[in-house]
């Protein structure tokens, strides 16, 4: 393998990994809080990315960031309060179906509100080349900022939702909402926080992708390919998301480098299939306890 190719794979892996770890965190948080595997996360991210685009054009970068952060938190909380809080007690798969249906409706709503054409977010510094290997890899300042901040945001939020005081409260609520309520924890607020942060991370991942490339409906594929990454790391493990994202990103980047982008997606799913057959709960997952 030639060095440029290796570098290309490495860079691509980092790019994928930063996005997948963010989506993965979203999946885990929402799953732990509500026992819902929220397949609509990708579409929620698209919604926020489109929101960002509109705000960016209208109000500039800073306001776009502020409004999108608020918007994503609100979106997550609203979806929980409006839909999933009414499904409490139903079996996991039925809630999964609702999230599937939501994903379809949300994608359509995005199309109705914003149309389906491709949009670009032209951020200052986007064209400043930092690193260039002809025919393989080009890294701009923006790219590096996005990748680094992606990992950084992931790290901060992962800590906040697991090890911090808030994280302890969130884990307690996720494990046993009744006991948490009896001990005086504001259960609804905590679950809304989990949904809000889940929405926020997918917004970050989607906006990041949108800035680097473009914003259009096919972007939801990212969130879907992130599913194997999330499961690979173990569904209820927050910190397993990072290794899961890296492994999957590496597999996908390698396949894409040799066989093209479509092959990359398939390899991602095939990798998951293989891992699941060997380790049915992912690399770091604990056995799922079915609550009766």
């Amino acid at each position: 393998m030639t060095t440029p190719l290796l570098v290309q794979i490495l860079v691509q892996t980092l790019i994928y990994a930063s996005i997948y770890s963010l989506f993965g965190l979203g999946y885990v948080l929402i799953y732990r809080a509500s026992r819902v595997f929220n397949f609509a996360i990708a579409e929620m991210g698209l919604f926020c990315a489109l929101l960002f685009t509109t705000c960016f054009v209208a109000f500039g970068l800073v306001w776009a960031i502020v409004l999108t952060v608020i918007g994503s938190l609100a979106l997550g909380a609203a979806l929980y309060l409006g839909i999933f809080s009414r499904l409490v007690g139903q079996e996991e798969w039925s809630q999964m179906i609702v999230s599937f249906a939501l994903s379809i409706a949300l994608l359509a709503v995005c199309g109705l509100i914003w149309g389906t054409e491709i949009r670009n977010i032209d951020v200052p510094g986007e064209k400043d080349k930092l690193f260039h290997i002809p025919g393989h890899v080009t890294l701009t300042v923006t790219d590096v900022v996005l990748i680094v901040s992606g990992f950084a945001i992931w790290g901060v939020l992962a800590w906040a939702t697991t090890l911090s005081r808030l994280g302890v409260y969130m884990r307690a609520t996720a494990e046993n909402p009744l006991l948490a309520a009896q001990q005086g924890l504001p259960v609804t607020l905590i679950i809304c926080t989990a949904w809000g942060v889940g929405s926020l991370v997918s917004a970050v991942a989607s906006v990041s992708y949108g800035i680097r490339l473009q914003v259009d409906p096919t972007m939801i594929l990212l969130g879907l390919v992130a599913v194997p990454a999330a499961l690979l790391g173990g569904l209820d493990s927050v910190f397993g998301k990072l290794p899961g994202a890296i492994i999957l990103g590496a597999a996908q980047a390698t396949a894409a480098a040799f066989f093209g982008a479509a092959a990359g997606d398939v390899v991602a799913f095939a990798t998951l299939l293989v891992v699941l057959l060997v380790l049915p709960h992912g690399l770091f997952g604990s056995k799922l306890i079915r609550r009766v």
């Binding site: 798969w93 994903s103 359509a108």
Partner: protein, 345 residues
């Protein structure tokens, strides 16, 4: 109608088969009540319902959620398209061959099913979806240089199926056959094994149910039916392409099964009518009045309606519409009992 009075045996037998009779009457009446566009909606409903019926066998009876349905449809469609173009094979034979291929793939699908449960199994089927679609794309690019398979009007014997009404009749007949078959499976040992698996797989295995065999058989039958329907669908649409095999489509089938009531024989048709038929009707209505201006918006509106309807029905209850109706009936019966004088609480 008497409540709790002495029932004669004729009254009892009427009670059991009058719903079926009502459905048959409705089915016969529809062609006379609706014109061509309306018939096309019903045909779509029947086709989707039939594929969902196949899914119902593993999902409704066995509780195993699978999103591989669309890819199996594609497999059946592709095989039929290819056989038609290269050897001119007609619909009747094509369906059987597609079903056979489907059954073989079903055996492969069963393998992850032996080891994985619930969410992980569903994700494994999602992986299968993407893998199969990838190969379909390769095949279409290789054999047809990327353009879809084209089929011409299906002919069964002397009858050429070129009117919606004819398709409607054919699909109704097939629906009845599949529904009866499903009902038969439900009462057969396979059905009971699947039920046990759905309730508690570990307990079933301890009780001596051969879950491995049940899963293999169930997946084969289910995938065979779906692939066969895929073949019919290709002949109905006169085309088959990998681009129509979307994850959205696969999800629609899952939603149909659940909204209609998992395991309920009429469930898939009911679900299809509610979450596919209604949006389609509305869309056609809008198309008619607002005209071609809406264009691609129709598709988006349909999807929004689909999603909203599924979410709505699911918030009523996880047993779909039949479950909600049953719960409503029970609530009514309780009220009735309390109102009657001398009733004990």
């Amino acid at each position: 109608m008497t409540w709790g009075g002495a029932d004669s045996s004729t009254l009892q037998s009427v009670r059991t088969w009058w719903p079926h009779a009502a459905v048959v009457v409705a089915m016969l009446a529809i062609p006379f009540l609706f014109d061509s566009p309306g018939m096309r909606t019903f045909n779509l409903v029947l086709l989707m319902g039939l594929a969902a019926q196949g899914l119902n066998i593993i999902m409704g009876l066995g509780g195993m959620v699978s999103v591989a349905t669309a890819s199996l449809l594609g497999v059946g469609g592709f095989l039929s398209g290819h056989l038609y173009e290269t050897m001119g094979i007609g619909m009747a034979t094509s369906v059987l061959l597609s079903a056979a291929l489907g059954m073989m793939i079903g055996v492969i699908l069963a393998l992850p099913g032996l080891r994985l449960r619930h969410l992980y199994f569903a994700t494994a089927t999602m992986a299968m979806h993407f893998i199969i679609v990838f190969f379909l794309q390769l095949i279409q690019n290789g054999l047809r240089k990327g353009s879809p398979f084209i089929l011409s009007t299906a002919e069964v014997g002397p009858i050429a199926f070129d009117k919606p009404v004819q398709w409607y009749a054919l699909l109704c007949i097939i629906s009845v056959i599949v529904m009866v078959a499903t009902q038969w499976i439900k009462t057969a040992p396979l059905g009971r094994a699947l039920n046990a698996i759905r309730d508690d797989q570990d307990a079933a295995e301890i009780a001596g149910v051969n879950t491995v065999r049940a899963k293999f058989i169930a997946f084969s039958i289910s995938s065979g039916i779906i692939a066969g329907i895929g073949s019919i669908r290709a002949f109905y649409q006169l085309t088959s392409s990998w681009e129509e095999i979307t994850l959205e489509l696969a999800i629609q089938f899952v939603a149909i099964v659940i909204v209609g009531g998992m395991g309920f024989s009429y469930g898939p048709i009911l679900g299809a009518m509610l979450v596919v038929g209604i949006p389609d009707f509305i869309a056609r209505g809008l198309e008619g009045s607002v005209g071609p201006k809406l264009g691609s918006q129709i598709f988006l509106i349909k999807n929004t309606l689909f999603g909203a309807l599924v979410i709505y029905f699911m918030t009523i209850g996880p047993d779909g519409v039949p479950g909600a109706l049953r719960a409503a009936r029970k609530a009514l019966a309780r009220h009735w009992r309390r109102l009657r004088p001398g009733a004990s609480t």
